[in-house]
């Protein structure tokens, strides 16, 4: 495929990632970030360009903490408080939102579904046509959430319905997931340095 990265965009990679993560509202892997950016902004972000982002951000933070309004940081695994594999997050989010316990991948997926559906709905209600990548992204969520589509709207899921279905499943997981997050976040606040809270604990 021809690289079309940043076509027409004057933003830096970190800004593009920030845009996409802000839509999703939770930690995400580079490929998903790229898909979201393509769906709602200006084309995909090459995952390769995100590879060193977390490390660069950590270096910048260590050199002078909180010099920037936000940092692209890590999600922390609930068990070890280590950086979650390949996941990117935003430093201004509450720590709990960046914790990934056993149910974290599922609840993050459902939360993202809610936000993506809202974003599509917003575009439609402005009288505009969402891009094909946006529909594709919405389909990706809709097809894996029970009750999010009917037989007639597989190609173009109804955003309101996707949102309701995602919220309904989220309610099932909420208590257990919240408990994991709260517990791990408490431990992180007790045990980790400020930098580790953002970028995770790494055993060397």
């Amino acid at each position: 495929m021809k690289p079309r990265t940043g076509r027409g965009s004057t933003l830096t990679v970190r800004e593009q990632v920030h845009q996409a993560l802000s839509v999703l509202g939770g930690p995400a892997a580079p490929k998903l970030i790229s898909a979201v950016h393509e769906a709602f902004f200006t084309g995909p972000v090459l995952p390769r360009r995100m590879a060193s982002l977390r490390r660069d951000e950590e270096r910048s933070f260590t050199a002078g903490p909180y010099q920037r309004p936000y940092y692209i940081c890590a999600a922390l695994t609930a068990e070890r408080l280590a950086p979650g594999r390949g996941l990117l997050a935003v430093s201004t989010w509450p720590l709990e939102r960046r914790i990934v316990g056993p149910l974290g991948p599922r609840t993050d997926f459902l939360t993202a579904a809610v936000h993506v559906a809202q974003q599509v709905k917003r575009i439609v209600s402005c009288g505009e046509e969402p891009s094909e990548p946006a529909w594709q992204l919405l389909r990706r969520y809709a097809s894996n959430i029970p009750g999010a589509t009917g037989p007639r709207d597989r190609e173009r899921p109804e955003p309101g319905r996707v949102r309701r279905a995602a919220l309904a499943e989220l309610a099932v997981h909420e208590a257990a997931d919240r408990a994991d997050r709260d517990r791990a976040a408490g431990r992180a606040r007790e045990q980790l340095t400020e930098s580790q809270r953002l970028f995770g604990m790494v055993v060397k």
């Binding site: 993202a112 029970p146 257990a176 790494v202 055993v203």
Partner: protein, 395 residues
């Protein structure tokens, strides 16, 4: 597994010496399944157990392996696996709900490929695989006891002793229902078209999952005491549906394959004996001496290879890097195996094609135990001669 492990480390030590200074090649379920395609081949068994890189070895002895996987097939398999794994295994969770009746709440995921697991454990002096295995067993145990709500274990690491040699195996996923059973899941890029998977691919995939099933049963038994019921006989294969990228689940009962493999694994012992029978000077050291010169010459490697008996089958060419070497050896010996197992089976007790021909042509007398088979062969040869000459006469 304590006493077993101590014994194993003895033979593992000797096997390491056979491999020499080169880095070991791990066992994989595919390798085990392939090993079981030809369980009587001592050569393959020994080399795999010792972790010798057969591809490099084949190259060094002058029979480069012709295997290869197309970059397109590799890319397609990786892309499909990524679709199944992304979004916290969302596609797999949908399939589990549809086909294995998982409840909405059963959506917890553990990623056992997380490098933090290995990083944390290397501090304890474990290898990455040992660390991931330890974590896998701990999490499986928690799931079995109901203390951790995990439904999907991604990239777990299981341990299995192969002929006395410990091996680590990595299934694509294991899934678990609360209060229920564990099921092995394989992610495969061959398509299921109108409900039908290509037979050969399906068989190979099920066999591979059956190897994981056995390892999982044994690991759980070690961790929890005997509870054979905790692992389902069925395996789940996740494949693309028809000509699309959408994953579909195929459930297949693997009991028959698992039973056969377990039986063969128990009989597979004997690596010890193979090592013991190896001449003192023979090894398969593929490393160099640090100055760029190989420690073993091609001739030395070939001699070492010849000192371990092989059982060549033409189908080895589809699944063993060394097949070219073994074929060459069979050619020099004029072995009936060259003509395939059917011909070999038609020549019981006859060691070479030349012997078979002289017996059939009445130039030598059969031994008593060959007599019956040779009489049948001679009748066949007579009928063939007669039928061919009859038509020549007509024409």
């Amino acid at each position: 597994m304590t006493t077993g492990q101590e014994q194993e480390s003895g033979s593992a030590g000797r096997l390491a010496a056979v491999r020499g200074a080169a880095a070991p090649q791990g066992f994989s379920a595919r390798k085990i399944a392939a090993l079981l395609d030809n369980p009587e081949c001592g050569r393959r068994k020994l080399l795999d157990a010792a972790g010798v890189d057969k591809r490099v070895l084949a190259d060094r002895v002058g029979y480069p392996s012709l295997f290869g996987q197309s970059p397109f097939a590799i890319a397609r398999a990786a892309a499909f696996a990524e679709i199944v794994r992304r979004d916290g295994f969302a596609e797999l969770i949908r399939l589990l709900r549809d086909t294995l009746n998982f409840s909405l709440a059963e959506a917890g995921v553990a990623d056992l490929a997380d490098p933090a697991i290995a990083a944390a454990a290397t501090a304890d002096g474990l290898s990455a695989q040992e660390a991931r295995h330890r974590e896998t067993v701990a999490l499986l145990r928690d799931a079995a006891l109901g203390t951790q709500p995990i439904a999907v274990f991604g990239s777990p690491v299981l341990a299995l002793s192969i002929g006395g040699v410990p091996a680590y195996l990595e299934p694509d996923a294991i899934v678990h229902r609360e209060g229920g059973r564990f099921t092995v899941v394989g992610i495969k890029a061959f398509p299921v078209i109108d409900g039908q998977a290509p037979a050969a691919s399906l068989t190979a995939a099920v066999k591979q999952q059956a190897v994981y099933q056995i390892a999982l049963r044994r690991n759980l038994a070690d961790a929890l005491g005997d509870d054979a019921d905790s692992v389902a006989d069925e395996v789940v294969l996740v494949c693309p549906e028809n000509y699309s990228n959408r994953p579909i689940a195929v459930i297949h009962n693997a009991k028959q394959q698992a039973d056969a493999i377990a039986l063969l694994l128990d009989r597979l012992g004997g690596v010890d004996r193979l090592v013991a029978d190896l001449p003192a000077a023979a090894d398969f050291d593929l490393s160099d001496d640090g100055a760029g010169a190989a420690r073993r010459s091609p001739g030395e490697l070939a001699t070492a290879l010849e000192s371990v008996g092989a059982r060549y089958l033409p189908t080895c060419r589809a699944n063993c890097d060394l097949a070219g070497f073994c074929r060459g050896e069979a050619e020099r010996a004029g072995s009936p195996a060259l003509l395939g197992p059917d011909v070999r089976d038609a020549l019981p007790g006859i060691m070479s094609i030349d012997d078979a021909l002289t017996l059939i042509n009445d130039e030598t007398d059969p031994s008593p135990d060959q007599a019956e088979a040779v009489a049948h062969l001679r009748r066949a040869a007579r009928l063939r001669r007669e039928s061919l000459s009859r038509t020549e006469g007509v024409a």
